[in-house]
């Protein structure tokens, strides 16, 4: 019997490790190892994975003076700015509108606004490339008829218009998607608080400011952080709409596109790793700042 007891105790001790083992194995193979490997690689200049020369912090030092990287950071930051300050207010506005009980066909509108998210990114990019065409593109035709815009306006070949075109496309894709988060949050706000606010004489704006916003704050913080991280990871949309070059004068080059160019076109996996780690650090810092500003760590939130 003592032998059986010993086996049982051993099984009892081992069981948790056995249960987490599949995750640990997968994570170490596809998560931890590539992370460590890329950190090591970031100290090398490489030509593919085999030929490499140690350069110490050379890649990181060069990054700071690399005009293309600086441009990519700027473009990504501009896109992230519009994602947070244009896209999210629009999403919230739509959510408020479609949260009204008396609105007819609100389920239909919810579906309509959400539906662009159901379409693949590649399809969206192809669609918008056609919409932005000069001469025959839908956007130019409409704007020409409405405000007399030049039919030759090249949205994707003019450095000043590339970013607005990308922002416009992402608005179409994501406004409805983020609306769903806000809608869920709005429906979770306690109705009694509105009744109490009305009894206290609060008008609609005051109710929004003092009841709705605090009520949806955790979700809003989540959406802001997620949108920011998503914006910093922007790759497919400009890659498909502008080609892998980043558009005229790199007006649509993003950090991840630049990483891809260096890693998978030039073959310098070391420099690409350095870009990747810098991006990760940047996103971490921005997210921490956002969480600090929004008070995400305050007790009770």
């Amino acid at each position: 019997m003592p032998r059986r007891q010993a086996i049982f105790r051993w099984q009892h001790k081992c069981a948790p490790y056995l249960f987490v083992a599949p995750f640990v194995v997968v994570f170490c193979t596809f998560g931890l190892y590539p992370l460590v490997k890329s950190l090591v690689l970031s100290f090398y200049t490489t030509s593919g994975p085999r030929s490499r020369v140690f350069v110490g912090l050379g890649n990181f030092v060069f990054l700071l003076s690399d005009a293309d990287f600086v441009k990519a950071v700027w473009n990504t930051a501009v896109f992230a700015f519009f994602s947070v300050f244009l896209q999210l207010p629009l999403s919230l506005g739509l959510a408020l509108l479609l949260n009204r009980k008396r609105l007819r066909g609100r389920n239909f509108f919810r579906l309509m606004f959400f539906s662009p998210r159901l379409v693949g990114m590649v399809f969206v990019a192809v669609l918008f490339v056609v919409i932005f065409q000069p001469q025959f593109g839908l956007l130019n035709r409409v704007l020409h008829a409405m405000i007399g815009l030049d039919l030759d306006t090249k949205w994707l070949a003019n450095r000043a218009l590339v970013m607005p075109a990308l922002v416009l496309t992402s608005l179409w894709m994501y406004v409805g998607f983020n609306m769903i988060y806000f809608l869920a949050a709005l429906q979770a706000v306690d109705r009694n608080l509105y009744d109490a606010a009305r009894v206290d004489g609060a008008n609609a704006w005051q109710q929004f400011l003092h009841v709705t916003l605090p009520g949806i704050k955790p979700v809003a913080i989540f959406v802001v952080v997620l949108s920011t991280i998503g914006s910093f990871q922007l790759f497919e949309l400009p890659y498909l709409m502008l080609g892998n070059g980043g558009g005229p004068e790199n007006a649509g080059l993003t950090i991840v596109m630049y990483l891809y160019q260096n890693g998978f076109e030039t073959g310098d996996l070391g420099y690409a790793s350095a870009i990747g780690w810098t991006l990760a650090l940047g996103v971490l810092v921005v997210s921490l700042i956002q969480m600090k500003i929004t008070g995400a760590w305050k007790r009770g939130d």
């Binding site: 200049t45 030509s47 593919g48 994975p49 085999r50 030929s51 020369v53 050379g58 060069f62 005009a67 293309d68 065409q133 000069p134 001469q135 025959f136 030049d150 039919l151 030759d152 090249k154 070949a157 003019n158 450095r159 892998n244 070059g245 980043g246 558009g247 005229p248 004068e249 790199n250 998978f264 076109e265 030039t266 073959g267």
Partner: protein, 459 residues
């Protein structure tokens, strides 16, 4: 009290299994689906084709032509099988790079597009994934039978890593009827200055443009740069994108695409281009041989209304052509039977009779001079107003300038694109005032950036 309903044994067994499963019905169903689908996959594995040689190409027209030619090769080499695989143009580069890096799934032969070829020459020369063709070309005598300038884009440190598929001489395609109606005589357009003058006379902003060019990238600048004898790199791999030829070319090109004297419109590709040519918005376009087939296919309604002429020269008596695009055939170091691979290359690329037949289908002029003597190159083409376009292109082939390459060719072209875009914006805003200084400065900044990246390359 109601009696429990009697249950049949399969139902009993099913309930026992489901109830006995520790996490409920849903995980049980997931498990069953996983086991069934996994089992099905195990029982129906996709076995790799067992072939002697595997060739990747990115162009469907190439793939179709090779698939036609392969049976004859297989008959000539009993027991040999060749698998021609069509891989998308963007994917072929990344897949090939990944294959080289991982030493997995490397094809025996592969076609690489000219703009990507140079990027495969990064690294130590002995570590490159392709074999050197030079000894075979010289030994077989083909080196002297192929247009020499076409080796340049696939040569690195004096070694040829690709067999050229084409020459791609450039002509000017124009709307013959529109030219006649507008009083433009193509015979008098023997210089670009004459062409620009005619263009300014007939261009009507918003509705008619003399030529399709781009003001936002360098793809249309390249043929002009090469025509003038310039380029991005010299034969030794030194960067030349900011030399006097490049400066003169950019300064000449920008007033064509920007400002009040603009005669171009970069309308876009595919359907939009088709409509622009059909509707007379675009009167002419730069037309390498491969694009002439594109016009026949995509702008079919213009049959009999289009014609080709040699490019106007930069000075009277100067070069009347340039080059745009290209493809190389590489044999990888992982190729299992290199001798047979050379034979296949000879069969697909250097068989004059086949090449002549293929020209009829694709309009692509092969670099093997022997082929040009065949009658297929003298056949008049109805689409091109009865012109024998094979002869027209072949007559220009020896004038095609070399395009030297480097692992940094893509970067250099991207930077030249920035020069074009920023110079066009400057010219639109300021005209000639300070334009020379601006272009010089932009070229220097662009070239310095490429040189800095080249210096960082220790290989």
């Amino acid at each position: 009290m109601a009696e429990p309903r009697p249950r049949s044994w399969p139902r009993d067994a099913w309930c026992a299994v489901v109830e006995g499963f520790p996490f409920g019905l849903a995980p049980f169903i997931i498990l069953v689906l996983a086991v069934v689908s996994g089992g099905w996959l195990l029982l129906h594995p996709i076995r790799p084709k067992k072939t002697t040689l595997r060739l990747w190409t990115f162009a469907d027209i190439h793939a179709r032509a090779y698939q036609k030619a392969v049976p004859a090769f297989e008959a000539k080499h009993p027991g040999t099988t060749v698998d021609v695989q069509l891989v998308h143009g963007v994917a072929v580069t990344s897949r090939l790079r990944a294959a080289f890096w991982a030493d997995l799934d490397v094809p025996d032969l592969v076609e690489v597009e000219i703009s990507s070829a140079g990027t495969f020459f990064r690294g130590r020369i002995d570590d490159l994934g392709f074999i050197d063709w030079t000894p075979w070309l010289k030994q077989s005598g083909f080196y002297d039978r192929i247009v020499h300038s076409r080796f340049a884009p696939y040569t690195c440190k004096g070694r040829i890593f690709g067999l050229p598929h084409d020459v791609h001489p450039v002509m000017l395609a124009y709307n013959r009827e529109a030219f006649r109606e507008l009083g433009i005589d193509p015979a008098k357009l023997d210089t670009w200055d004459a062409f620009a003058r005619a263009g300014r006379r007939v261009t009507v902003p918003g509705s008619r443009y003399m030529i399709q060019l781009s003001d936002s990238n360098a793809s249309n600048l390249d043929p002009f740069l090469f025509q003038r004898g310039g380029g991005y790199f010299d034969a030794d791999g030194n960067l030349t994108m900011d030399d006097a030829v490049a400066l003169a070319t950019v300064k000449w090109y920008i007033p064509l695409v920007a400002g009040p004297g603009r005669i171009d419109n970069d309308i876009g590709g595919r359907d939009v281009f088709t409509r622009a040519v059909e509707s007379g918005i675009i009167l002419s376009f730069i037309c390498p041989d491969w694009r002439s087939k594109g016009a026949e296919t995509h702008v079919g309604s213009m049959s009999g209304k289009m014609a080709l002429m040699p490019l106007p020269a930069f000075a009277k008596g100067g070069r009347r052509t340039s080059t745009w695009g290209g493809t190389m055939l590489g044999i990888t170091k992982k190729c299992r039977n290199k001798k047979l691979a050379f034979e296949l290359a000879r069969h697909l690329y250097l068989n004059a009779d086949d090449l002549a037949g293929r020209f009829k289908e694709l309009n692509i002029l092969p670099p093997l001079r022997d082929a040009w003597r065949l009658p297929e190159f003298d056949e008049p083409r109805a689409y091109w107003s009865g012109q024998a376009i094979g002869r027209l292109y072949a007559d220009l082939a020896e004038q095609v300038p070399p395009q030297y390459t480097s692992p940094f060719i893509r970067l250099a072209k991207a930077k030249m694109g920035e020069v074009v875009s920023s110079s066009a914006a400057y010219y639109r805003a300021n005209g000639e005032a300070g334009f020379d200084v601006f272009v010089r400065d932009r070229l220097k900044v662009a070239a310095d950036y490429v040189r800095t990246q080249m210096k960082r390359n220790p290989f």
